[in-house]
């Protein structure tokens, strides 16, 4: 059974919400923290409802609506999301008030909106969708596990159309805390030069990407979601290489059948070493595209990567801003998306052109 990507929607630090050719006018930044380019959310959300929504809720609802619009679906059978950090902004507001007001006179809105499943809940409320609604909070596997759940449900036959997506936001608090771990670069770096950076650390990012998945294709469908796999804390690069070989074999192909490798390189010289090893061992002559210099690093950044990979298949071209190495063949039939988050959460997504 094929799982088709019938519609996609993305809110990111690039102009991804407005449609048009993929990354036709890429935004270049010189900073260590990228924020989303926000469209006018009122086109999807009523003014009275929008006032209670934090940025991650708005970007999630918008990306979900965009994906449903492109798929021509008004009501999915299920909504599945993945988020590592959830609604951080409202969590911060609620916790700050708890401290400042000695746990008294706490307002309900920030509490209600601070849970991780707020985005999936808001989408369901706005659509009037009473179907299966689930949110995965599995750090760097949050989005991938949402996809796996969607695939399993579609294969079980209990749903025909599923809305699946991943989203995370940065707040001042979270950026400060994460910066203490040394995750980010110490000084601003030009995003288009990030992947050639000679030192450790990356840039922070945020965004939301949603996919309308179905067991039948729609008029604009470009790709099938052929497979998703995850690998947690591999001991060495050989384990990753072996996992990819097995993953491709399970889907009846070899590295030679892959037309484009899309990687989650993030400009951290230590973390990018794994991509170097994998590319050298399995894909030495393949073209490679990357995406984290465009969207920044966050636990569900693979959702942006999948959105980009699907668009590459749809347009049969790799935008210059995404090229890391080589030239993709004229016919891009299969894309392997390989991403890892913090060296611990490795994920693999195989896309095949329809």
């Amino acid at each position: 059974m094929n799982i088709y990507i019938n519609g996609t929607g993305c809110i990111s630090p690039q102009n991804t919400a407005q449609g048009g050719p993929l990354l036709a006018a890429p935004r270049e930044y010189e900073q260590v923290r990228l924020a989303t380019v926000d469209p006018d959310y009122k086109q999807w959300i009523d003014v009275k409802q929008i006032r209670r929504m934090s940025r991650v809720v708005k970007m999630g609802v918008a990306a979900a609506n965009l994906s449903l619009e492109t798929a021509g679906i008004t009501l999915p059978d299920a909504i599945i999301t993945g988020t590592a950090y959830g609604c951080l902004d409202d969590t911060g507001v609620f916790l700050t008030k708890m401290v400042n007001q000695q746990e008294e006179m706490l307002t309900p809105t920030a509490f209600i909106q601070s849970t991780h499943n707020t985005v999936a809940g808001q989408i369901a409320l706005l659509l009037g969708c009473n179907g299966y609604n689930n949110t995965f909070v599995h750090r760097g596997f949050s989005f991938e596990n949402a996809l796996l759940d969607a695939i399993m449900i579609l294969k079980e036959g209990t749903a025909k159309h599923i809305l699946a997506g991943g989203m995370d936001e940065i707040t001042n608090y979270s950026h400060q805390v994460l910066s203490r771990f040394g995750i980010y670069k110490k000084a601003p770096v030009k995003t288009m030069e990030l992947l050639n950076s000679p030192d450790t650390g990356t840039i922070a990012g945020e965004g939301a990407a949603f996919f309308a998945l179905g067991v039948t294709s729609a008029p604009g469908t470009a790709a099938t979601l052929t497979g998703v796999s995850t690998l947690y804390k591999p001991l060495w690069e050989g384990e990753v290489i072996g996992h990819i070989m097995k993953f491709l074999e399970d889907h009846h192909c070899t590295p030679a059948d892959i037309d484009l490798l899309v990687t989650g390189r993030n400009g951290d010289i230590d973390q990018d070493e794994m991509y170097e090893e994998v590319a050298a061992a399995l894909f030495p002559d393949h073209a490679e595209a990357s995406f984290k210099h465009l969207c920044g690093e966050y636990p569900t950044a693979a959702a942006f990567g999948l959105w980009m990979a699907n668009a590459i298949i749809a347009e049969q071209a790799v935008p210059e801003a995404a090229v890391f190495y080589g030239h993709a063949p004229k016919k891009i039939n299969r894309i392997l998306l390989y991403n890892h988050h913090q060296g611990t959460h490795h994920s693999f997504v195989l896309l095949t052109a329809c």
């Binding site: 006032r51 706490l106 307002t107 309900p108």
Partner: protein
Amino acid sequence: MADLKAQIIEQLNLHEVAPESIGDDQPLFSKEGLGLDSIDALELIVLLQQHYNIRIANPEEGPKIFQSVRTMAEYITANQTIKA
């Protein structure tokens, strides 16, 4: 009442509503008025506690108190105590 309107806008995140556009007797919870809902009612209860040190002892009084900005102001005037 102008201060109270500003506080309501701040508490309910109604930043697109100008204080002067809220009528003193405009219903707060009907569609003809501001169209507030039950979550907003909880926010208004917190507003009374935070700004005026007023706790609503009898929840059944709520609809009457929160009928309009004027009824809220009258309730505050009648019940306000000096904040500790």
